[in-house]
Each structure stands twice: as structure tokens, then as C-alpha cells.
């Protein structure tokens, strides 16, 4: 493969991976908030979160492989996973390597989720919030040009989406009541609703 093709492939996989990661985070926070997407049952959102995450992992793999294979820039296989050891833009590539490591950790613990204690899985999964900024800064700093600004716009849009989703998740988390109180609230509200002839509401379990 020619160097130019590799370069384009590397850029494209990186870009699409970032967009998919953004989507993964938005879907993940939707799961967290017990939200739904139009036309999808609630478990559909969970499946979509997982599938989009797997797809973005695949693209990251492609992104790493094309960067390593491309002989124009000096990034070895070790530098792709060992942060800050690359010959080409060590800091920028290092952030990318760090993101790859974190992504691997999140991926492996999620695939083994049923076999791991929740107390291990949950904090590891939360590190995916750190993953996104790492990947984004890596993208902006490692890229040799930003396509005349439209790439920058895309990254900013993704950043806005991620920030909004994270804040929404945080707000829901803070508003969540302890489970036992939730049950009592649901009870009181249902009784009041039925007494007044209103339909009972929906209650969140998280």
C-alpha cells in the first residue's frame, strides 16, 4: 500500500473512531440514566452502546495498525501501547497510546463483566470518561493538518456532545435517591395518582 493511502486510512480511522467513541459515551450515559431512544426498547439502548463501542474498538485497532505500518512516521508497535516512546510527536502519540491502554482495559473488563465483581468493573468503566479527552487531544495534536478547520469543528461538536451527556449523567446520579427511599416514593406517588384518577408515573431504578 502506498504511503498516501495509509496516511488517509490512518486519519479516517482515527476520526471515525472518535465520533463513534462520542456516540458510545452518549449511549452509555443514556443507559445509565435509564433513558430510551425512539423506537427502541430499553435493552436496545444497552445493545447499541455495546455494539457501537465494539465498532469503535475495531476502528481504533485499524488506526493503530495503519500508524505502525506507515513507515513515513516513526511509530513502532511498542510506542502504540507504551505511552511517550514514539519517535514522531512523542507527546501527542503518547496521549493516543494512553487512550489505547485505557480502552483495552475498559474493553476487557466489559467483556468479562459477568465474571468480575461489580466493584471492580464499575470504577474501571468510569475511566472511559477520561478516555475521550485523551483521544480528542491526541487527535488535535498528532494531526498534521486539520483539514482547513472542519476537522476542528467536528471535534468540537463531539466535545459538546460528550460534555452534555456526562453532565446529564452526573445530574441524574445526584438526583437519584437511595433504593429503599425510591420504593417508598414510588408507593406514595402511585397511591396519590390512583386516588386522583391519574395514571401512575414511571420511576427510575438508578
Amino acid at each position: 500500500m502506498t504511503g498516501a493511502a495509509l496516511w488517509y486510512l490512518n486519519r479516517a480511522t482515527g476520526m471515525v473512531a472518535l465520533v463513534l467513541m462520542t456516540l458510545t459515551i452518549v449511549l452509555g450515559t443514556t443507559v445509565r440514566r435509564h433513558g430510551r431512544l425512539p423506537g427502541l426498547p430499553r435493552f436496545g439502548v444497552v445493545h447499541m452502546h455495546r455494539n457501537v463501542a465494539l465498532l469503535s474498538a475495531l476502528l481504533v485497532a485499524g488506526h493503530v495498525v495503519t500508524a505502525v505500518v506507515d513507515s513515513y512516521v516513526d511509530i513502532g508497535a511498542t510506542a502504540a501501547v507504551l505511552p511517550f516512546t514514539a519517535g514522531y510527536r512523542p507527546l501527542a502519540v503518547g496521549l493516543g497510546a494512553l487512550a489505547v491502554d485505557l480502552a483495552l482495559l475498559v474493553l476487557v473488563t466489559s467483556l468479562l463483566r459477568d465474571r468480575l465483581p461489580r466493584r471492580l468493573w464499575a470504577p474501571v468503566h468510569l475511566t472511559s470518561y477520561a478516555l475521550w479527552p485523551l483521544a480528542a487531544v491526541h487527535g488535535l495534536t498528532a494531526a498534521s493538518d486539520l483539514g482547513g478547520g472542519w476537522l476542528l469543528l467536528l471535534v468540537l461538536a463531539c466535545a459538546a456532545a460528550t460534555a452534555w451527556a456526562s453532565l446529564a449523567a452526573l445530574a441524574t446520579r445526584r438526583a437519584a435517591r437511595p433504593p429503599s427511599e425510591r420504593a417508598r416514593d414510588a408507593m406514595a406517588e402511585s397511591v396519590a395518582a390512583f386516588a386522583a384518577g391519574r395514571p401512575a408515573g414511571r420511576y427510575r431504578n438508578g
Binding site: R115, R118, P179, M187, S190, A195
Partner: protein, 396 residues
């Protein structure tokens, strides 16, 4: 709670001490708990009725030595059998623990019971010379605290609420070890079976609840499963229906109950199971819908509020039952809605709490169908407004 009872088998020792126990039953012979349970076809008495031998085998032979947890929680408000057993024959339960722990090569053994019961149990435990000392654990209050994953969570120092069934506690429970959670009555029955009392597996402790001439009567009996239900409850014109099993159980009209025997297939004929061994005879002067509504309120409030079906389904059903329990026409589409909700819940929670509650409601809507009609017409059977089924009022 009154606890007068027939003195037979399980409760036949004159007192709770080790001396009384040894004088009545003799020492525990060495034996294999799995073989004993298998031969007797023993089933669990914690409510699920699962074959004990299968359960024992599932924790045996693993890589790590298992933990045995004797479940004396008895979260079921209408049941008193485990409390009576622990106060009358604690050494049968402790024998059962020793037997099972020996067979499984257990790493540790726990007896979990209501905190108020522990001071009375401690001297009995201290009196014994078992290979494995038994640790006493106070169970949190509440209907769910006795569910096996909730109990294991509490023993691991976490909140006493049911947890995910993957992995099950039989694979990873207390301290991450394979864990056998087994009801105290099941253990006591193993202790008798190991002594060659082959009938011990074919009996059950029953908590009977009835009213005679306006007076409440509650007791615990050790009943052969081959006997007719009518032998244990007066099923005359003063009784309209029987609640079989407990609050996760089934209502059966008195006339149907009179034809049933207590064994599995006998009760199954009426869609009922012995469950936690509760038999409550609803007096003719009460409203079955109102009694059920009160219990469902309690059950919905006990939900740990973790799973959507429990949180969205049970309060709604409880609130609807309130309306159906009033002698007034309910909203026109309420009854079909409750029936629909009842169909949606089973199997959807992390534990079977919603399933049990729905069973109670669905049964009540069937058995008390004539009462529903009466309410629609603005009248009600109830002549007495005192509650019959117990519902704890717990400061939380």
C-alpha cells in the same frame, strides 16, 4: 405470638438445652448429608421447595471449601415456624449444620437469625463441641433480608438487598466462596433423617393462623404431608378462604381447600405450594380483597427498589388493589390493567419478590371474584374491620 403446638418429632424435646436434646434424640451419628437428603427426597423449607440433595451437590466438590449459612431469617410476617424451631430445638438445627458442614468440608458456618433471638441462642452454640464453630449473625429487618443473595450481601458487609444472580451464591457467596444458604427447618430435618427417622422428610412445620369465635389463634405444628389440609384447619362456614404458603403464596377457597392434601401434588391441584408453611384461614366476616391489599402494600414497600419491574409494577398494583378493595365501583379499566401488569412482572426482577407478590394478587382476583362484584355494587363482605393477616409496622 402464641406458640402452643402438638409435640411431635421436630419439636418433641422437652426443652432447648443440649441435655434435653441428647435425651430425646441421642447423639448425631456420622453420615453423608447428600445421601441422606437424596434418599428421603428432602426439599427446602425456606419457601422455594428445591430438592436439597441437588443443592448440596452443587456446592460440593468445588475448588474452594464452601460456607454453610443456616437461614433462620423468617422474613415472612405470617410465619413463626423458624422462630419456634430455634427456640424449642436449636440443637437439631446445629446438628444439621454440623452434618452438612462435615459432608461439604465447609470452611465456616453461620447461623443467621433475628437479632432478638441471638442472646438466647448463644449459650446453646457455646455448649457444643463441633469441629466447626458456628457464628451467629443478626439478620436485618425486612421481608427481603432472608433472600439468599441479600443474606450473603449482608454477611459480606454490604447492604442486605438481593443482588444479581450471576454468579449465583452457590458459586460465589460469602467471602467469595461457594455458599450453601439453607433454611433452618431443612437442616433440622436432615438431623432427624441422619438418625434414621425416615419420616422426617415427609413432614413440614406449619404456621396456622385462624380465628375461633372472634379470637385469634396462631400456632406451629409438625404435620405429615400425607394428611389432608382439613385436618389442620377448621374449614367450616366461618372460613371463606385459605392462604397457603405465605405472602408469596396462593389463596384457595375454603371449599377447594377442604379437598386438598398437604403434599406437593395435592396442593399443586389447586395451583398452590406449601412455600414457607403458612396456612391462614380467612374468617368469613372479612374482606379478602382488603386483606390482600394490605399485604400487597407491605410487599411493595419492602421492595429493594432496585429493579424496574419491582419499582414500577408493585406500587402500581398495590395502589390499584386499594381501589378494588373499596366497596365502590373502581375505574372501568382498572381490573384488566391489574391483570395485565400481573402478567408482565414475573421473571423480570433480580429476585423472585415480584413473582411472589403477583401470585398473591392474581390468586386473590380469582378467588375473591364474587367480592369484586359486590364492591362494584357498593357493598362488602367485611363485618369486622380488625386486620387478620399480620403486617409489620416498621420504623425505617
Amino acid at each position: 405470638m402464641t406458640a402452643a403446638s402438638a409435640t411431635v418429632a421436630l419439636l418433641s424435646a422437652p426443652g432447648p438445652t443440649l441435655a434435653d436434646h441428647l435425651a430425646t434424640h441421642g447423639p448425631l451419628p456420622p453420615g453423608d448429608a447428600i445421601a441422606v437428603a437424596e434418599e428421603a427426597g428432602l426439599t427446602g423449607r425456606g419457601g422455594g421447595g428445591f430438592p436439597t440433595a441437588v443443592k448440596l451437590r452443587s456446592v460440593a466438590g468445588g475448588r474452594r471449601a464452601p460456607v454453610v449459612v443456616a437461614n433462620g431469617s423468617e422474613g415472612e410476617p405470617a410465619s413463626a415456624k423458624d422462630a419456634v424451631l430455634l427456640s424449642r430445638a436449636p440443637h437439631l438445627v446445629l446438628d444439621g449444620i454440623a452434618l452438612v458442614a462435615g459432608t461439604l468440608g465447609a470452611a465456616s458456618a453461620v447461623l443467621a437469625a433475628d437479632a432478638a433471638r441471638l442472646p438466647e441462642l448463644a449459650p446453646h452454640v457455646a455448649e457444643r463441641r463441633d469441629r466447626l464453630p458456628v457464628r451467629l449473625h443478626p439478620v436485618a429487618a425486612g421481608y427481603l433480608a432472608g433472600e439468599e443473595s441479600a443474606l450473603v450481601a449482608a454477611l459480606n458487609g454490604r447492604a442486605p438487598v438481593p443482588t444479581s444472580k450471576f454468579p449465583p451464591v452457590r458459586e460465589r457467596g460469602v467471602d467469595g466462596r461457594p455458599t450453601l444458604v439453607i433454611n433452618v427447618e431443612t437442616l433440622a430435618r436432615l438431623a432427624l433423617l441422619a438418625r434414621g427417622d425416615s419420616s422426617a422428610g415427609d413432614r413440614a412445620l406449619l404456621t396456622r393462623r385462624l380465628e375461633r369465635a372472634g379470637r385469634l389463634w396462631v400456632d406451629v405444628v409438625d404435620a405429615p404431608l400425607s394428611t389432608p389440609l382439613a385436618e389442620w384447619l377448621p374449614l367450616d362456614a366461618d372460613v371463606q378462604a385459605v392462604l397457603i404458603g405465605g405472602y408469596a403464596g396462593t389463596w384457595v377457597p375454603a371449599r377447594t381447600a377442604a379437598r386438598l392434601s398437604l403434599d406437593h401434588s395435592g396442593l399443586a391441584a389447586a395451583g398452590a405450594r406449601l412455600g414457607a408453611g403458612v396456612l391462614a384461614a380467612l374468617p368469613a366476616d372479612r374482606c379478602g380483597l382488603r386483606e390482600t391489599a394490605r399485604v400487597v402494600h407491605f410487599l411493595a414497600g419492602e421492595s429493594a427498589g432496585q429493579c424496574g419491574p419491582c419499582l414500577n409494577g408493585l406500587p402500581r398494583i398495590a395502589a390499584a388493589m386499594d381501589l378494588l378493595a373499596r366497596p365502590a365501583p373502581p375505574p372501568p379499566d382498572l381490573l384488566p390493567a391489574v391483570r395485565r401488569w400481573c402478567g408482565l412482572l414475573p421473571g423480570r426482577g433480580a429476585c423472585s419478590h415480584p413473582d411472589g407478590t403477583v401470585r398473591l394478587v392474581a390468586g386473590a382476583l380469582g378467588v375473591f371474584g364474587p367480592e369484586l362484584d359486590r364492591h362494584r355494587a357498593g357493598t362488602c363482605t367485611a363485618r369486622v374491620h380488625r386486620a387478620f393477616l399480620p403486617v409489620p409496622r416498621r420504623p425505617r
